[in-house]
Every structure is written in C-alpha cells, then in structure tokens.
C-alpha cells in the first residue's frame, strides 16, 4: 500500500503510523455527558468502504495527514494535511 504524502509524494505504508478514526468529534472537554464521551472513546461504525482516518508520515516529513481510504480495497481516495497552514492555502 502506498500513501501519497502531500509533502513527500507516494511513500511505502511502512513509513506511516495510523493515528485513528478522523470521523469522531470530541465533546467539549468540560462536558459531563457520559453518553457523548462513551461514543467518542468507544463507539466505532467500522464501515466496509470509505473511511476518514488520521495518519502520520512518521518515517518521513512527520506531518499529520487526513486520509480517505477504502477499508475493503485499501484504495486511497484523498490525502491532505490534517491541519491548515496560514497564508498558503496548504496545510501541514
């Protein structure tokens, strides 16, 4: 599997670390809504198909990335930086 890092170009999977499900939305840290926290920490839809996930190019430029990957075929549809960079329209 290759992931096309927006900084480095296509690189081997071995250079990347999975950083988790990118569809989760963290409740307000002050929230005491146990159900919302339970959902954030434990509940996963585990889709068979397209999935938004965080990866880090840990063995490369070390940027955090947002990857849209097909969990059935491992096809990568989209890779962007996880966090926008001011002024450039790009992200890192």
């Amino acid at each position: 599997m290759l992931i096309s890092c927006p900084h480095c170009g296509p690189r081997d999977l071995a250079e990347f670390s999975y950083q988790g499900d990118a569809t989760r939305i963290r409740p307000d840290p002050a929230s005491t809504d146990a159900k919302a926290w339970y959902g954030y920490v434990y509940a996963r839809p585990n889709p068979a198909g397209r999935h938004r996930e965080f990866w880090q190019h840990a063995g490369g430029c070390r940027a955090h990335l947002l990857v849209v990957r097909d969990t059935l075929t491992h096809e990568i549809y989209e890779v962007t930086f996880a966090r926008p960079l001011p002024g450039t329209g790009e992200t890192a």
């Binding site: 480095c8 490369g60 430029c61 070390r62 940027a63 960079l85 001011p86």
Partner: protein, 196 residues
C-alpha cells in the same frame, strides 16, 4: 577541547571488503560534520527561514518539498518536512551562525551536531545499494543532485541528500549510527566496497 569520538565503532575501519573482485561498487565514509542543525519555521514563515539559513550557510535555499543545496566541503542543506530544514557543514562555528540567524519570529534552530551522524556512500552501485534499504526511487530523474528526502529504514530515521551523480549523504541518529553503518556495509558487500 574535547575530542569527538566516532559513534561508528571499531568495525568501520578503512579497507576493502566484500566482493571486490569485479571492482569497487561503493565507497563508504563518515564525512567530518562539525555542524548539524535542524530548523523549523513557524506557520507561514518558511520562506523567511530558508533565506535566513541560506545567508548563514552561504547557500541558496527554497522551502520547496525535496529541494536542497550544497557547497562542496562547506555546507549542505535540504528540506526534511513542511517548513523544516537540515543544515550541516564541516565548520563547528556554522552552528552558532545558524542559530543566531533564525530570529524567534521566524522559527527555531536546534543544534544536533552531537545527535546525528553523517554517512556518505559513493560509487557506481550507490543507487543500487540504497534501493535495498529504502522504498525510494534513487534514479537521478526522481532524485536529482542537491535534492533531499526524509525516510526510514525500518525504525531508523534517515535523511538523505544526493550530493553527486553517484553520491549520497545520509544523516541518522547518532545512537543508531553504528548499527545502521553495519546494515549499510552488509548491503554493500555483494557490490564490493571500501571504507575511507
């Protein structure tokens, strides 16, 4: 003045090794690097950082991914990530010039002279030997002279700059340099290699 000891140990000794009957495939060496500095720009300040580092090191630098520059025997620098550069040079005083050149509004510069080790591989089999270790395209079309790449061999991070048609400089963590130089020597064995 404290003498800097080589982290490469007693195995990395000048001589000829491996299958050299058909000629010397590569030459390995540890070029003297008095300075190794990593610099990172604050968001949106990558051009200013490139200019400041370039001025201090006597190089023309761009923040473009994969780009780099070097002056033979003086200094070398390349992009290792978004807004991040690795700058090295023979002269120990370069480190001070670099850290002075990066003002707090532009970014940070960290002296890693004792934290990284430079290894040089040169010769007709250099691309071939490196291709055994890293999942990168080492052909000149994909990896031109002066360009740099940040990659890893298993868990050993390696930052690589091409400094000649058949020459690459590799920067690895000093604590892993001895083990990594062993891997490099092993990979070079069937090409035949010398250590200089």
């Amino acid at each position: 003045m404290v003498e800097r000891a080589t982290p490469l140990g007693t195995d990395f000794r000048p001589g000829s090794y491996g299958d050299i009957a058909g000629g010397v495939g590569v030459t390995l060496s540890a070029p003297p690097t008095g300075t190794i500095v990593e610099a990172t720009a604050w968001p949106g300040r990558d051009k200013a950082l490139a200019t400041a580092l370039g001025k201090a090191a006597g190089l023309t630098l761009q923040p473009a991914p994969g780009s780099g520059a070097f002056k033979e025997g003086k200094a070398a620098a390349f992009v290792i990530g978004p807004g991040r550069f690795l700058v090295s040079g023979k002269d120990e005083a370069l480190s001070g010039r670099l850290t002075q050149a990066v003002d707090p509004q532009t970014g940070t510069a960290t002296d890693l002279s004792h934290g990284r080790t430079a290894l040089r591989i040169e010769g007709p089999a250099a691309e071939w030997v490196l291709a055994k270790l890293f999942a990168l395209d080492f052909s000149q079309a994909a990896f031109p002279v002066s360009a740099g790449r940040a990659t890893a061999h298993h868990d050993v991070f390696a930052q690589i700059q091409r400094t000649g048609e058949s020459r690459f400089d590799l920067y690895v963590f000093r604590s892993l340099a001895r083990a990594f130089s062993g891997v490099l020597r092993h990979a070079a064995e069937e090409a035949g290699y010398t250590i200089r």
